[in-house]
Point group: C2
Chain length 251, copies 2
Protein backbone atom coordinates (compact mmCIF):
# COMPACT_ATOMS: atom_id res chain seq x y z
CA UNK A 1 0.00 0.00 0.00
CA UNK A 2 1.61 3.28 -1.10
CA UNK A 3 1.08 6.47 0.81
CA UNK A 4 -1.23 9.18 -0.38
CA UNK A 5 -2.82 12.44 0.64
CA UNK A 6 -6.46 13.41 0.13
CA UNK A 7 -7.41 16.99 0.98
CA UNK A 8 -11.06 16.69 1.90
CA UNK A 9 -13.82 19.24 2.36
CA UNK A 10 -16.07 18.68 5.38
CA UNK A 11 -18.60 21.31 4.30
CA UNK A 12 -19.96 24.02 6.58
CA UNK A 13 -20.78 21.80 9.57
CA UNK A 14 -23.53 19.20 9.15
CA UNK A 15 -22.04 15.79 8.18
CA UNK A 16 -25.09 15.32 5.94
CA UNK A 17 -23.33 17.78 3.62
CA UNK A 18 -20.31 15.48 3.23
CA UNK A 19 -20.01 13.81 -0.15
CA UNK A 20 -19.81 10.02 -0.31
CA UNK A 21 -16.28 10.41 -1.71
CA UNK A 22 -15.18 12.31 1.42
CA UNK A 23 -16.93 9.85 3.74
CA UNK A 24 -15.13 6.94 2.04
CA UNK A 25 -11.74 8.68 2.21
CA UNK A 26 -12.21 9.25 5.94
CA UNK A 27 -13.18 5.59 6.39
CA UNK A 28 -9.99 4.39 4.63
CA UNK A 29 -7.59 6.86 6.26
CA UNK A 30 -4.82 5.93 8.65
CA UNK A 31 -4.20 9.57 9.64
CA UNK A 32 -6.31 12.73 9.85
CA UNK A 33 -4.44 16.04 9.77
CA UNK A 34 -6.00 19.48 10.27
CA UNK A 35 -6.99 22.40 12.42
CA UNK A 36 -8.25 21.07 15.75
CA UNK A 37 -11.97 21.85 15.45
CA UNK A 38 -12.14 20.25 11.99
CA UNK A 39 -10.23 17.12 13.06
CA UNK A 40 -12.69 16.83 15.97
CA UNK A 41 -15.56 16.49 13.48
CA UNK A 42 -14.18 13.10 12.31
CA UNK A 43 -15.39 10.21 14.51
CA UNK A 44 -12.71 8.26 16.37
CA UNK A 45 -12.09 4.65 15.44
CA UNK A 46 -9.42 1.98 16.06
CA UNK A 47 -6.41 2.43 13.82
CA UNK A 48 -7.06 6.09 13.07
CA UNK A 49 -4.44 8.60 14.23
CA UNK A 50 -5.66 12.17 14.56
CA UNK A 51 -3.15 15.02 14.32
CA UNK A 52 -4.77 18.30 15.39
CA UNK A 53 -2.90 21.57 14.97
CA UNK A 54 -3.46 25.21 15.79
CA UNK A 55 -4.83 27.85 13.46
CA UNK A 56 -2.43 29.67 11.10
CA UNK A 57 0.17 26.90 10.79
CA UNK A 58 -1.01 25.73 7.38
CA UNK A 59 2.39 25.09 5.80
CA UNK A 60 3.69 23.12 8.80
CA UNK A 61 0.46 21.11 8.80
CA UNK A 62 0.68 20.47 5.05
CA UNK A 63 4.34 19.39 5.29
CA UNK A 64 3.48 17.04 8.15
CA UNK A 65 0.71 15.44 6.08
CA UNK A 66 3.02 15.02 3.07
CA UNK A 67 5.75 13.52 5.25
CA UNK A 68 3.31 10.97 6.70
CA UNK A 69 2.23 10.01 3.15
CA UNK A 70 5.88 9.65 2.10
CA UNK A 71 6.18 7.06 4.91
CA UNK A 72 3.33 5.09 3.29
CA UNK A 73 0.37 6.34 5.35
CA UNK A 74 -3.08 7.11 3.91
CA UNK A 75 -3.53 10.69 5.04
CA UNK A 76 -6.63 12.87 4.87
CA UNK A 77 -6.12 16.59 5.42
CA UNK A 78 -9.46 18.00 6.55
CA UNK A 79 -10.74 21.49 5.75
CA UNK A 80 -14.10 23.00 6.49
CA UNK A 81 -16.12 23.90 3.43
CA UNK A 82 -14.29 23.14 0.18
CA UNK A 83 -10.52 22.60 0.56
CA UNK A 84 -9.93 24.59 -2.62
CA UNK A 85 -11.64 27.80 -1.39
CA UNK A 86 -9.53 29.73 1.12
CA UNK A 87 -8.54 26.47 2.78
CA UNK A 88 -5.86 23.77 2.85
CA UNK A 89 -5.45 22.72 -0.81
CA UNK A 90 -3.27 25.67 -1.86
CA UNK A 91 -1.18 25.30 1.30
CA UNK A 92 -0.47 21.64 0.43
CA UNK A 93 0.66 22.55 -3.09
CA UNK A 94 2.85 25.34 -1.70
CA UNK A 95 4.47 22.73 0.55
CA UNK A 96 4.94 20.36 -2.41
CA UNK A 97 6.64 23.09 -4.43
CA UNK A 98 8.92 24.01 -1.52
CA UNK A 99 10.39 20.46 -1.36
CA UNK A 100 10.64 19.24 -4.96
CA UNK A 101 12.52 16.03 -4.33
CA UNK A 102 10.42 14.83 -1.42
CA UNK A 103 6.78 15.10 -2.39
CA UNK A 104 6.28 15.63 -6.12
CA UNK A 105 5.56 11.98 -6.94
CA UNK A 106 3.05 11.39 -4.17
CA UNK A 107 -0.59 10.71 -5.02
CA UNK A 108 -2.37 13.90 -3.97
CA UNK A 109 -6.09 14.40 -4.56
CA UNK A 110 -8.41 17.26 -3.67
CA UNK A 111 -11.91 16.08 -2.68
CA UNK A 112 -14.33 18.98 -3.06
CA UNK A 113 -16.88 19.92 -0.42
CA UNK A 114 -19.72 22.38 0.09
CA UNK A 115 -18.09 25.76 0.58
CA UNK A 116 -19.57 28.27 3.04
CA UNK A 117 -20.81 30.79 0.46
CA UNK A 118 -22.80 28.19 -1.46
CA UNK A 119 -24.32 26.76 1.72
CA UNK A 120 -25.23 30.32 2.79
CA UNK A 121 -26.65 31.25 -0.60
CA UNK A 122 -28.77 28.08 -0.53
CA UNK A 123 -29.99 28.70 3.02
CA UNK A 124 -31.16 32.20 2.01
CA UNK A 125 -32.46 31.23 -1.43
CA UNK A 126 -30.13 31.81 -4.40
CA UNK A 127 -28.10 34.96 -3.78
CA UNK A 128 -25.23 33.70 -5.96
CA UNK A 129 -27.57 32.64 -8.79
CA UNK A 130 -25.95 35.00 -11.30
CA UNK A 131 -22.32 36.10 -11.88
CA UNK A 132 -20.44 36.47 -8.58
CA UNK A 133 -17.06 36.65 -6.88
CA UNK A 134 -15.46 35.37 -3.68
CA UNK A 135 -13.04 37.55 -1.71
CA UNK A 136 -11.14 36.65 1.44
CA UNK A 137 -11.26 39.76 3.66
CA UNK A 138 -8.37 38.64 5.85
CA UNK A 139 -5.29 40.76 5.27
CA UNK A 140 -2.97 38.18 6.84
CA UNK A 141 -1.67 37.14 3.41
CA UNK A 142 -2.32 40.16 1.19
CA UNK A 143 -2.19 43.94 1.55
CA UNK A 144 -5.40 45.72 2.48
CA UNK A 145 -5.07 47.87 -0.66
CA UNK A 146 -5.56 44.73 -2.80
CA UNK A 147 -8.78 43.95 -0.93
CA UNK A 148 -10.12 47.48 -1.48
CA UNK A 149 -9.22 47.43 -5.17
CA UNK A 150 -10.91 44.06 -5.74
CA UNK A 151 -14.01 45.07 -3.81
CA UNK A 152 -14.32 48.33 -5.79
CA UNK A 153 -13.95 46.53 -9.15
CA UNK A 154 -16.35 43.77 -8.11
CA UNK A 155 -19.04 46.33 -7.31
CA UNK A 156 -18.38 48.11 -10.61
CA UNK A 157 -18.82 44.74 -12.38
CA UNK A 158 -22.10 44.29 -10.47
CA UNK A 159 -21.08 40.87 -9.18
CA UNK A 160 -22.81 39.48 -6.15
CA UNK A 161 -19.92 39.13 -3.66
CA UNK A 162 -19.16 36.52 -1.02
CA UNK A 163 -16.79 37.62 1.74
CA UNK A 164 -14.89 35.00 3.73
CA UNK A 165 -13.20 35.73 7.07
CA UNK A 166 -14.88 39.13 7.39
CA UNK A 167 -13.91 39.80 10.96
CA UNK A 168 -11.81 38.30 13.73
CA UNK A 169 -10.66 39.39 17.16
CA UNK A 170 -7.21 40.05 15.70
CA UNK A 171 -8.66 42.16 12.85
CA UNK A 172 -11.74 43.99 14.17
CA UNK A 173 -11.49 47.08 11.92
CA UNK A 174 -11.17 45.67 8.41
CA UNK A 175 -14.79 44.70 7.89
CA UNK A 176 -15.99 48.15 8.95
CA UNK A 177 -13.79 49.69 6.27
CA UNK A 178 -15.07 47.23 3.66
CA UNK A 179 -18.66 47.89 4.68
CA UNK A 180 -18.15 51.67 4.45
CA UNK A 181 -16.73 51.19 0.94
CA UNK A 182 -19.79 49.14 -0.07
CA UNK A 183 -22.15 51.72 1.42
CA UNK A 184 -20.44 54.50 -0.54
CA UNK A 185 -20.39 52.57 -3.82
CA UNK A 186 -23.84 50.92 -3.85
CA UNK A 187 -27.42 52.17 -3.66
CA UNK A 188 -28.90 52.35 -0.12
CA UNK A 189 -31.35 49.51 -0.65
CA UNK A 190 -28.74 46.95 -1.82
CA UNK A 191 -29.28 43.67 0.07
CA UNK A 192 -26.60 42.14 2.27
CA UNK A 193 -26.91 38.80 4.07
CA UNK A 194 -24.94 37.77 7.17
CA UNK A 195 -24.92 33.98 7.36
CA UNK A 196 -23.51 32.57 10.57
CA UNK A 197 -22.66 28.91 11.21
CA UNK A 198 -24.84 27.60 8.38
CA UNK A 199 -26.03 24.00 8.81
CA UNK A 200 -25.09 23.90 12.52
CA UNK A 201 -27.43 24.30 15.53
CA UNK A 202 -26.16 27.91 15.79
CA UNK A 203 -27.20 28.80 12.22
CA UNK A 204 -28.45 32.35 11.96
CA UNK A 205 -29.21 34.33 8.82
CA UNK A 206 -29.90 38.06 8.69
CA UNK A 207 -30.69 39.95 5.50
CA UNK A 208 -30.77 43.75 5.65
CA UNK A 209 -30.25 46.65 3.29
CA UNK A 210 -26.76 48.15 3.17
CA UNK A 211 -27.86 51.29 5.05
CA UNK A 212 -29.06 49.07 7.91
CA UNK A 213 -25.84 47.02 8.09
CA UNK A 214 -23.30 47.47 10.89
CA UNK A 215 -19.90 45.75 11.26
CA UNK A 216 -20.99 43.88 14.40
CA UNK A 217 -23.35 41.76 12.29
CA UNK A 218 -20.28 39.73 11.21
CA UNK A 219 -17.92 37.60 13.28
CA UNK A 220 -15.37 34.90 12.49
CA UNK A 221 -18.10 32.27 11.94
CA UNK A 222 -19.96 34.46 9.43
CA UNK A 223 -19.84 34.51 5.64
CA UNK A 224 -21.22 37.75 4.20
CA UNK A 225 -23.07 37.86 0.87
CA UNK A 226 -23.53 41.21 -0.83
CA UNK A 227 -26.22 41.04 -3.49
CA UNK A 228 -25.82 42.49 -6.97
CA UNK A 229 -28.03 45.42 -7.99
CA UNK A 230 -30.57 42.83 -9.21
CA UNK A 231 -30.80 40.75 -5.99
CA UNK A 232 -34.34 40.60 -4.61
CA UNK A 233 -36.16 39.58 -1.43
CA UNK A 234 -39.46 37.66 -1.49
CA UNK A 235 -41.21 38.46 1.79
CA UNK A 236 -43.18 35.71 3.52
CA UNK A 237 -45.35 36.57 6.55
CA UNK A 238 -44.00 34.97 9.71
CA UNK A 239 -41.11 33.26 7.91
CA UNK A 240 -37.66 34.13 6.66
CA UNK A 241 -37.69 35.76 3.22
CA UNK A 242 -36.26 34.13 0.14
CA UNK A 243 -33.30 36.16 -1.16
CA UNK A 244 -32.23 35.48 -4.74
CA UNK A 245 -30.59 36.96 -7.82
CA UNK A 246 -32.50 36.52 -11.09
CA UNK A 247 -30.79 34.79 -13.99
CA UNK A 248 -31.10 37.67 -16.42
CA UNK A 249 -29.73 41.17 -16.95
CA UNK A 250 -32.00 43.32 -19.14
CA UNK A 251 -30.71 45.01 -22.30
CA UNK B 1 -47.84 15.00 4.53
CA UNK B 2 -47.65 18.49 3.03
CA UNK B 3 -46.07 19.18 -0.31
CA UNK B 4 -42.62 20.58 -0.65
CA UNK B 5 -39.91 21.35 -3.16
CA UNK B 6 -36.21 20.61 -2.75
CA UNK B 7 -33.89 21.96 -5.43
CA UNK B 8 -30.99 19.53 -5.32
CA UNK B 9 -27.49 19.63 -6.77
CA UNK B 10 -26.28 16.40 -8.37
CA UNK B 11 -22.70 17.61 -8.73
CA UNK B 12 -20.65 17.33 -11.92
CA UNK B 13 -21.47 13.69 -12.72
CA UNK B 14 -20.18 11.01 -10.35
CA UNK B 15 -22.87 10.09 -7.75
CA UNK B 16 -20.03 9.79 -5.21
CA UNK B 17 -20.05 13.59 -5.24
CA UNK B 18 -23.67 13.73 -4.04
CA UNK B 19 -24.14 14.85 -0.45
CA UNK B 20 -26.01 12.60 1.96
CA UNK B 21 -28.69 15.32 2.19
CA UNK B 22 -29.31 15.12 -1.58
CA UNK B 23 -29.29 11.31 -1.55
CA UNK B 24 -31.91 11.30 1.23
CA UNK B 25 -34.11 13.87 -0.54
CA UNK B 26 -34.07 11.74 -3.69
CA UNK B 27 -34.99 8.65 -1.62
CA UNK B 28 -38.01 10.42 -0.09
CA UNK B 29 -39.25 12.11 -3.27
CA UNK B 30 -42.50 11.31 -5.03
CA UNK B 31 -41.55 13.35 -8.10
CA UNK B 32 -38.30 14.29 -9.85
CA UNK B 33 -38.40 17.32 -12.14
CA UNK B 34 -35.57 18.53 -14.35
CA UNK B 35 -33.73 18.63 -17.64
CA UNK B 36 -33.80 15.15 -19.19
CA UNK B 37 -30.13 14.15 -18.80
CA UNK B 38 -30.14 15.15 -15.10
CA UNK B 39 -33.42 13.35 -14.35
CA UNK B 40 -31.89 10.26 -16.00
CA UNK B 41 -29.13 10.28 -13.38
CA UNK B 42 -31.67 9.41 -10.63
CA UNK B 43 -32.30 5.65 -10.37
CA UNK B 44 -35.85 4.48 -11.06
CA UNK B 45 -37.91 2.99 -8.24
CA UNK B 46 -41.53 2.12 -7.54
CA UNK B 47 -43.58 5.17 -6.58
CA UNK B 48 -41.23 7.69 -8.14
CA UNK B 49 -42.57 9.80 -11.02
CA UNK B 50 -39.92 11.33 -13.27
CA UNK B 51 -40.75 14.47 -15.25
CA UNK B 52 -38.03 15.18 -17.81
CA UNK B 53 -38.11 18.40 -19.79
CA UNK B 54 -36.09 20.00 -22.57
CA UNK B 55 -33.31 22.51 -22.15
CA UNK B 56 -34.16 26.23 -21.86
CA UNK B 57 -37.63 25.83 -20.37
CA UNK B 58 -36.55 26.61 -16.82
CA UNK B 59 -39.56 28.72 -15.78
CA UNK B 60 -42.10 26.21 -17.10
CA UNK B 61 -40.20 23.42 -15.33
CA UNK B 62 -40.05 25.42 -12.08
CA UNK B 63 -43.77 26.25 -12.22
CA UNK B 64 -44.59 22.59 -12.84
CA UNK B 65 -42.54 21.57 -9.79
CA UNK B 66 -44.25 24.18 -7.60
CA UNK B 67 -47.70 23.13 -8.83
CA UNK B 68 -46.97 19.49 -7.97
CA UNK B 69 -45.86 20.55 -4.47
CA UNK B 70 -49.03 22.62 -4.06
CA UNK B 71 -50.95 19.36 -4.68
CA UNK B 72 -49.08 17.77 -1.76
CA UNK B 73 -46.28 16.00 -3.61
CA UNK B 74 -42.67 15.77 -2.38
CA UNK B 75 -40.83 17.19 -5.36
CA UNK B 76 -37.10 17.28 -6.04
CA UNK B 77 -35.94 19.57 -8.82
CA UNK B 78 -32.58 18.26 -9.98
CA UNK B 79 -29.73 20.41 -11.30
CA UNK B 80 -26.25 19.42 -12.22
CA UNK B 81 -23.53 20.95 -10.06
CA UNK B 82 -24.92 23.28 -7.40
CA UNK B 83 -28.51 24.40 -8.02
CA UNK B 84 -27.58 27.91 -6.88
CA UNK B 85 -24.83 28.45 -9.48
CA UNK B 86 -26.23 29.12 -12.99
CA UNK B 87 -28.86 26.45 -12.45
CA UNK B 88 -32.45 25.89 -11.29
CA UNK B 89 -32.67 27.66 -7.90
CA UNK B 90 -33.05 31.20 -9.26
CA UNK B 91 -35.59 29.97 -11.83
CA UNK B 92 -37.72 28.47 -9.05
CA UNK B 93 -37.69 31.73 -7.07
CA UNK B 94 -38.56 33.68 -10.23
CA UNK B 95 -41.56 31.37 -10.64
CA UNK B 96 -42.54 31.86 -6.98
CA UNK B 97 -42.44 35.63 -7.40
CA UNK B 98 -44.51 35.49 -10.59
CA UNK B 99 -47.45 33.79 -8.79
CA UNK B 100 -47.60 35.33 -5.30
CA UNK B 101 -50.81 33.72 -4.13
CA UNK B 102 -50.03 30.19 -5.27
CA UNK B 103 -46.56 29.28 -4.09
CA UNK B 104 -45.25 31.67 -1.44
CA UNK B 105 -46.14 29.49 1.55
CA UNK B 106 -44.69 26.27 0.19
CA UNK B 107 -41.69 24.70 1.88
CA UNK B 108 -38.86 25.31 -0.57
CA UNK B 109 -35.27 24.30 0.20
CA UNK B 110 -32.10 24.52 -1.82
CA UNK B 111 -29.74 21.56 -1.27
CA UNK B 112 -26.24 22.56 -2.34
CA UNK B 113 -24.03 20.38 -4.51
CA UNK B 114 -20.51 20.37 -5.93
CA UNK B 115 -20.48 22.99 -8.67
CA UNK B 116 -18.48 22.42 -11.85
CA UNK B 117 -15.80 25.06 -11.21
CA UNK B 118 -14.90 23.64 -7.79
CA UNK B 119 -14.77 20.07 -9.11
CA UNK B 120 -12.55 21.30 -11.95
CA UNK B 121 -10.30 23.32 -9.67
CA UNK B 122 -9.91 20.27 -7.42
CA UNK B 123 -9.17 17.94 -10.34
CA UNK B 124 -6.37 20.28 -11.50
CA UNK B 125 -5.09 21.17 -8.02
CA UNK B 126 -6.36 24.43 -6.49
CA UNK B 127 -6.80 27.01 -9.25
CA UNK B 128 -9.50 28.84 -7.27
CA UNK B 129 -7.49 28.82 -4.04
CA UNK B 130 -7.37 32.63 -3.82
CA UNK B 131 -9.95 35.35 -4.68
CA UNK B 132 -11.98 34.42 -7.77
CA UNK B 133 -15.14 35.04 -9.77
CA UNK B 134 -17.66 32.99 -11.72
CA UNK B 135 -19.11 34.30 -14.99
CA UNK B 136 -21.73 32.65 -17.20
CA UNK B 137 -20.57 33.25 -20.78
CA UNK B 138 -23.99 32.51 -22.28
CA UNK B 139 -25.61 35.64 -23.66
CA UNK B 140 -29.08 34.07 -23.68
CA UNK B 141 -30.10 36.10 -20.63
CA UNK B 142 -27.78 39.09 -20.65
CA UNK B 143 -26.23 41.37 -23.27
CA UNK B 144 -22.77 40.48 -24.53
CA UNK B 145 -21.54 43.94 -23.47
CA UNK B 146 -22.18 42.99 -19.81
CA UNK B 147 -20.05 39.87 -20.22
CA UNK B 148 -17.17 41.88 -21.74
CA UNK B 149 -17.36 44.52 -19.01
CA UNK B 150 -17.33 41.93 -16.23
CA UNK B 151 -14.48 39.98 -17.80
CA UNK B 152 -12.40 43.15 -18.21
CA UNK B 153 -12.96 44.22 -14.60
CA UNK B 154 -12.30 40.70 -13.29
CA UNK B 155 -8.92 40.62 -15.03
CA UNK B 156 -8.12 44.11 -13.69
CA UNK B 157 -8.98 42.82 -10.17
CA UNK B 158 -6.63 39.86 -10.82
CA UNK B 159 -9.31 37.33 -9.89
CA UNK B 160 -8.96 33.78 -11.07
CA UNK B 161 -12.05 33.35 -13.27
CA UNK B 162 -14.36 30.41 -13.84
CA UNK B 163 -16.39 30.51 -17.05
CA UNK B 164 -19.59 28.47 -17.32
CA UNK B 165 -21.30 27.67 -20.62
CA UNK B 166 -18.34 28.90 -22.66
CA UNK B 167 -19.48 27.58 -26.00
CA UNK B 168 -22.47 25.84 -27.56
CA UNK B 169 -23.56 24.99 -31.09
CA UNK B 170 -26.03 27.89 -30.95
CA UNK B 171 -23.31 30.34 -29.81
CA UNK B 172 -20.02 29.30 -31.40
CA UNK B 173 -18.46 32.80 -31.62
CA UNK B 174 -18.77 34.16 -28.08
CA UNK B 175 -15.97 32.21 -26.48
CA UNK B 176 -13.53 33.24 -29.20
CA UNK B 177 -14.28 36.89 -28.44
CA UNK B 178 -13.85 36.31 -24.71
CA UNK B 179 -10.58 34.47 -25.29
CA UNK B 180 -9.26 37.29 -27.51
CA UNK B 181 -10.13 39.76 -24.75
CA UNK B 182 -8.21 37.66 -22.20
CA UNK B 183 -5.22 37.33 -24.54
CA UNK B 184 -5.11 41.11 -25.01
CA UNK B 185 -5.48 41.90 -21.29
CA UNK B 186 -3.22 39.27 -19.67
CA UNK B 187 0.44 38.34 -19.99
CA UNK B 188 1.20 35.60 -22.56
CA UNK B 189 2.14 32.99 -20.01
CA UNK B 190 -1.09 33.24 -18.00
CA UNK B 191 -2.44 29.73 -17.36
CA UNK B 192 -5.87 28.62 -18.55
CA UNK B 193 -7.43 25.22 -17.85
CA UNK B 194 -10.13 23.55 -19.94
CA UNK B 195 -11.92 21.00 -17.77
CA UNK B 196 -14.35 18.77 -19.62
CA UNK B 197 -16.87 16.40 -18.02
CA UNK B 198 -15.06 16.30 -14.67
CA UNK B 199 -15.76 13.18 -12.57
CA UNK B 200 -17.23 11.26 -15.54
CA UNK B 201 -15.54 8.60 -17.72
CA UNK B 202 -15.03 11.35 -20.34
CA UNK B 203 -13.11 13.62 -17.95
CA UNK B 204 -10.36 15.50 -19.74
CA UNK B 205 -8.25 18.37 -18.39
CA UNK B 206 -5.94 20.53 -20.46
CA UNK B 207 -3.82 23.35 -19.02
CA UNK B 208 -2.05 25.67 -21.45
CA UNK B 209 -0.77 29.23 -21.49
CA UNK B 210 -3.12 31.86 -22.92
CA UNK B 211 -1.06 32.24 -26.10
CA UNK B 212 -1.51 28.50 -26.74
CA UNK B 213 -5.28 28.54 -26.16
CA UNK B 214 -7.77 28.28 -29.03
CA UNK B 215 -11.59 28.50 -28.84
CA UNK B 216 -12.05 24.87 -29.95
CA UNK B 217 -10.58 23.71 -26.61
CA UNK B 218 -14.01 24.46 -25.05
CA UNK B 219 -17.39 22.93 -25.74
CA UNK B 220 -20.72 22.81 -23.90
CA UNK B 221 -19.44 20.22 -21.40
CA UNK B 222 -16.37 22.31 -20.49
CA UNK B 223 -15.82 24.72 -17.63
CA UNK B 224 -12.88 27.05 -18.27
CA UNK B 225 -10.66 28.32 -15.46
CA UNK B 226 -8.42 31.32 -16.11
CA UNK B 227 -5.72 31.60 -13.49
CA UNK B 228 -4.81 34.85 -11.78
CA UNK B 229 -1.38 36.37 -12.41
CA UNK B 230 -0.14 34.26 -9.45
CA UNK B 231 -1.43 30.86 -10.62
CA UNK B 232 1.36 28.29 -10.99
CA UNK B 233 1.96 24.88 -12.50
CA UNK B 234 3.96 22.15 -10.75
CA UNK B 235 5.31 19.87 -13.46
CA UNK B 236 5.49 16.13 -12.77
CA UNK B 237 7.25 13.84 -15.25
CA UNK B 238 4.79 11.49 -16.93
CA UNK B 239 1.81 12.78 -14.98
CA UNK B 240 -0.61 15.70 -15.15
CA UNK B 241 0.75 18.85 -13.50
CA UNK B 242 -0.72 20.35 -10.36
CA UNK B 243 -2.15 23.81 -11.11
CA UNK B 244 -2.79 26.04 -8.12
CA UNK B 245 -3.02 29.62 -6.92
CA UNK B 246 -0.99 30.47 -3.82
CA UNK B 247 -2.78 31.91 -0.81
CA UNK B 248 -0.79 35.12 -0.63
CA UNK B 249 -0.30 38.34 -2.60
CA UNK B 250 3.03 40.05 -1.85
CA UNK B 251 3.19 43.66 -0.66
Amino acid sequence: MTGRVAIAGLGPGDPRLWTAEVRDALAEATDIVGYGPYVARVPDRAGLAKHASDNRVEIERATHALALAAEGRRVVVVSSGDPGVFAMASAVFEAVEARPSAFRDLEIRVLPGITAMLAASAAAGAILGHDFCAINLSDNLKPWAVIEKRLTLAIEADFACAFYNPRSQARPEGFGRALALMQAACERGRLITFARAVSTPEEHLTTVTLDEAVPEMADMRTVVLLGSSRTRRIERPGRAPFVYTPRSVPE
